[in-house]
Symmetry: C2
Subunit: 568 residues, 2 copies
Amino acid sequence: MSNNDLKVLRHSAAHLAAQAIMELFPGTLLTIGPATEEGFFYDILPEKNLKEEDLMAIEQRMKELVEKNYAIEHKEISKDEARKMYEGNPFKLELINELPGDTVGLSVQGEFKDLCRGGHVESTGGIKHFKLLGISGSYWRADKSNQALQRIHGTAFPTAKELRAYEKRQEELQKYDHRKLGRQLDYFSFQEAAAGFPFFHPKGKIILKNLVSYMRKLQNEYGYKEVQTPTILDAELWKRSGHYDYYKENMYFSEIDDEQFAIKPMNCPGAYLIYGSRPRSYRELPLKLAEFGHVHRYELSGVLHGLLRVRAFTIDDTHIFCMLNQLEAEILKILEIAFRVYKKCDFENISLALSTRPEKSMGTDKEWEKATAALENALKACGRPYTLQEGEGAFYGPKIEIVSKDAMGREWQTGTVQVDFFQAENFDLNYISSEGKKERPVIIHQAIYGSLERFFAILLEHYKGHLPFWLAPEQVRVLTITDDQKEYAQKIYERLRQEGLRVVLDTGSDKISSKIKSAQLAKVPWMLVLGNKEVDAGTVSLRLSSGKQEFGISVDELVKRAQELNQL
Amino acid sequence: MSNNDLKVLRHSAAHLAAQAIMELFPGTLLTIGPATEEGFFYDILPEKNLKEEDLMAIEQRMKELVEKNYAIEHKEISKDEARKMYEGNPFKLELINELPGDTVGLSVQGEFKDLCRGGHVESTGGIKHFKLLGISGSYWRADKSNQALQRIHGTAFPTAKELRAYEKRQEELQKYDHRKLGRQLDYFSFQEAAAGFPFFHPKGKIILKNLVSYMRKLQNEYGYKEVQTPTILDAELWKRSGHYDYYKENMYFSEIDDEQFAIKPMNCPGAYLIYGSRPRSYRELPLKLAEFGHVHRYELSGVLHGLLRVRAFTIDDTHIFCMLNQLEAEILKILEIAFRVYKKCDFENISLALSTRPEKSMGTDKEWEKATAALENALKACGRPYTLQEGEGAFYGPKIEIVSKDAMGREWQTGTVQVDFFQAENFDLNYISSEGKKERPVIIHQAIYGSLERFFAILLEHYKGHLPFWLAPEQVRVLTITDDQKEYAQKIYERLRQEGLRVVLDTGSDKISSKIKSAQLAKVPWMLVLGNKEVDAGTVSLRLSSGKQEFGISVDELVKRAQELNQL
């Protein structure tokens, strides 16, 4: 089935759902019901809010309507007629008034009519493999200052097999949902007092720290310099940067001494102020300022989604100030760093896209050519295929987007490399060239993880909870079979701790099988199972979370292997 | 001279300054002019704002008034008479109305009269050794919603020698003022767009990171667990914690979805929410949650002072949840950590004070006795003297304050250990005891650095800019005498970098003397001076910032010494 046919099917399913709803809950006002990537939804305003339990009745009624196999007909009617039909429905009236022309489309199936452009299956009998998935909150036209609505969502497929496959995949996704894993493993939580602001528990904080340490190691190697800029900055600064005009809706504000301040949604202006805090010479370039900056961005409460979509997060944000002729080499190095990071995190499938100059843009032709050539040459030099997104760059410069595919086949845009001609001008940043002249630096915005919180969530799902050794909050658990190994286990525990490993000792009275089970549940990569044989030989037996077991490893050998895996 | 006599002298000097001001700027309104620890001030409202340059004229006029040697007389006059005298001065009128009784005191010297309780030298000739120090902004009754005033401050001493000593000390303090050092060494800056919010430049950030790393090392050793809690939390939570009622003036607020949120001024509630995020067993106690929490607290712009007094800072904040019978052992461990930290930072003079139950307090007698005994026993066990501050504990528990004296003899309260009976009740925190009953944990609030920003400033002044090896942002600079040593210098540089040291290579064409001078200015602890002799022998010569020099050290020996100094 073509993608278009699938859309037609799903849009028809949305009508079907609407028909069932109108029959069961007659006073309901319908708004819009489009097909989506994953299925369809219908936004409605019922007289009394619907509950999850109501979905079953609606789905049942949909099935009955399928049985009846109503023909689905498309008609054009006059706008006046349509207005009359939707007299009590301000949403449909708004739509009717906005549509061009004098007529509007109407789809008719049995008694049920719905405003519609067209594109349907022939009869309700053609929609057999569908499922309602849930109810959530939404707003008319996704604007929270408008009327709050309820969204019924579902999906539909041409065959039962495809629907089953979809359901299975959903189950898989649900099983490894980072929110579920995060709770089970005590990594983080969300609290009523702070919707969208995550609380990292000790184990979760270790994972974040490991991500930071690894990035710091790379930054140190590549000559980045870390800075720290304030969380709150004068609103005037955000006017200067353009955020106040273009990004205000996503920002939080406060007041100090009767002046407006903003809680930073981005780290860029802080980096500019540090760059501009003293005169710079060309000898200092490229100057690479890095910040693990904690930013706050408003999101509608309805779209918050665990760590994947939060209201505050940390970016591995770097700003490279360089000369135009340094661009290519710098971008190549950034790509190098990016690929090291993704390899380290076992993302095997990375795709690159170059977005070029849009119609409206600032800067000269020559600058754009040079910058785009620099990005393109770097992409070629790194020897990986990339796609071209013509005209999709920002108005202030071209960019590279890096997308990684996870173990479940989902794609995540994490890395970005953005060239910027605009802000150096805007913040009057310059350097003294070798000829003693004032010149503007080019700025590269770079983020590899992107949001650390989001990257954390992606990794947790990508690894299905089994984080690799270097990231795991608990790396090794030492388990005794009986009390006879207590002393030996303590010695091994001390040794591993001294080596800087994150190790836990379990010498409790439980049976070894239940100790292993509990370590397995905690997703500890290494279990050291110690019995009398190990004590006598002065060795350990190593059990991996995969179940694989190895016996008679010397402690030195074990430490050596652990250190190798632990290396950043 | 007794402390009281000194106060009398300084208060008289304030009157003298006021007399001079009234003669030179007749329309000025006087408010109050008390003696202070360091000297005196007078808050005034001139018709036109005074400038720094005006101070010289005022000081000159004060000297003339001293020459005239007016007798200073004290009179009591009726309030009505006083009101008449100060008809146009709302400040003095307010004071007159507030004073008890029917009369008020007046001091008279020549033509000049001032409202005053009394306590003066006999005549203006007795005020010889004084100095005006500056003008700053203030508010009537230090309330920024009141009239803005100007504050003239100065000091006075009984002898010329004491005044000279004071001036010398001030010069010293100014020379090693962390704000000056911070700018010279490019450690941090303040920007117009964010008064009171520091920007840490690359070298300053390294210092902060070293402080964090060292504390993390100790926390890891003592079994603390690091967490991370949100910067913004619902105002409701701050009502629950009591901050909204008692600390609101110092908090910044924002709005999300029409609800009030606060930017956290403290990290405690975050820790409570994590503790309360799942059931806890007595087996988990003591549970020690640590957070390097970035907090925001409002300060008047007039009192901001470099990193010593800022509007946002990071606390090494820890919350220990324990049972009452674990208190003593935990407090002893905290003191142990504190003394390790202060020793590491070369504070030799530490004093301890125990603050006990105030009149108004919560909790039972038995709890207070136990908690106070726990603190006292820990103090005794650590074998250091301490003072008792009877009744000066918080209403929710007793505490220990730790004060360190720096190299310039100034005292800084940095560490606090506070026992808390209140918040576990307030946030309904509990654990299941060994008998299976719900019990309330006791909470210990612990901070050793206190504010990292403030501690940074204290260290910078304490060390007069010469930070010790482990803290120094640049630890080693490799200097060549001629180009002949370039290759060798590069090799040494690489080796030291690989060893994780913070090293800079200077193979420029400057003379070795100016290279040394520049390293000296940057306060680099180790300079490696390389000539042909060193190349031939494969050694280095080490020059310390003190000027001490040592020749013929092998590179391995050098690395060994550096690693020792670098150890946290």
